[in-house]
Homo-oligomer: 185 residues x 2
DNA sequence: GTCTATAAGATGATAGAC
DNA sequence: GTCTATCATCTTATAGAC
């Protein structure tokens, strides 16, 4: 399974289309077309559509880890947590149009019990674990519960922003979130 | 378009299957089978699959209005809001398995821009409006923003409970939510 | 109103030439 | 490694008998 340019292009294409249209609504012909790869050639890189889905999940997880790595540069756990919410606020236009790239992906895939994608390394789980670490550094005993709360609010706000088609919902919730973090001390 | 027993059975069947498998993953053959109605007969009641989807959305909206009507019996806006979160806590097993029936439905349909279902009467919008009314009765100037926060938290927790396959996440978030409502006063 | 049979089109996947 | 052509299947939707 060589890592060629075409393979990367296919994953990138699928990532975008899965976000915009959903996984089930996206055909391999769509993916191939956007990547400028002939349909039949897709099967050289991915034996099945499920395999392509797995590759997309992995890629999303990598993105999340990269983002968290950048946030880790910030000095305090409080600013790091606020930086997380800020990220969704910055992407609010995109999220309002198509939903959160990782939330909507997880939501759709969790329905099909194809155990191909294990829950262990879900992108959402990475976010929760990281948030828990920040809250623990802040001395919170209930770090785990609060971590779920953190990701909950971001994901819920993303869903509403999408449903109402209004990016401002996400921006306002990010602001409320910042105040909440300040209140934790 | 007569309202027969069969029509009701088809809507009920679709409602369940859309929740368990998603809208796109559910075929009209599935819906017909669960409703014990021959496939061809489905088209007497619904000209297209989209029409059936609209009927399901309407039915979900009715369910929400019914729930909120029951909660309106409670004495204070605080207990009414807590009653809302309690509802999701009670259904946590189901939500952890298949996601929130209205959240996952909205999330999936918001991707397909088929304007067949107007955003005006989305079940989520009904929840937000009602929450806003409660918060306004509590004297909050920022009632609208907080209302989005209320529904956000419930929806976000539902998504995480589904992704982690753990109903307790929803129960714990409901508990945190109750404390938050008490702190608003 | 009800149901069977089937048309029409799309989609995942494969065979095999180059 | 790459691509064309195509198969097999599934799914929405319709035609038309009862």
């Amino acid at each position: 399974m060589p890592v060629t340019d075409k393979r990367a292009r296919l994953v990138e294409s699928a990532k975008g289309l899965f976000h915009e249209q959903g996984v089930l609504a996206t055909t391999l012909a769509d993916v191939a077309a956007r990547a400028a790869v002939p349909l039949g050639n897709v099967y050289y890189y991915f034996k099945t559509k499920d395999e392509l889905v797995c590759a997309v999940i992995e890629s999303r997880s990598d993105e999340v880890r990269e983002l968290l790595g950048r946030l880790d540069q910030k000095r305090t756990p409080q600013t790091r947590l606020k930086g997380l919410a800020e990220q969704w606020g910055d992407a609010s236009e995109d999220v309002a149009r198509y939903g959160c790239p990782i939330g909507s992906l997880s939501s759709e895939l969790d329905k099909s019990h194809d155990t191909a994608w294990s829950r262990a390394d879900s992108p959402l789980a990475i976010l929760v674990d990281w948030s828990e670490a920040q809250l623990r550094q802040m001395g919170r005993r209930d770090a785990r519960d609060l971590a779920f709360s953190v990701v909950s609010r971001i994901q819920g706000a993303s869903l509403l922003a999408q449903d109402f088609g209004d990016p401002e919902i996400l921006v306002r919730e990010a602001r409320l979130f910042e105040r909440w973090v300040d209140g934790l001390a």
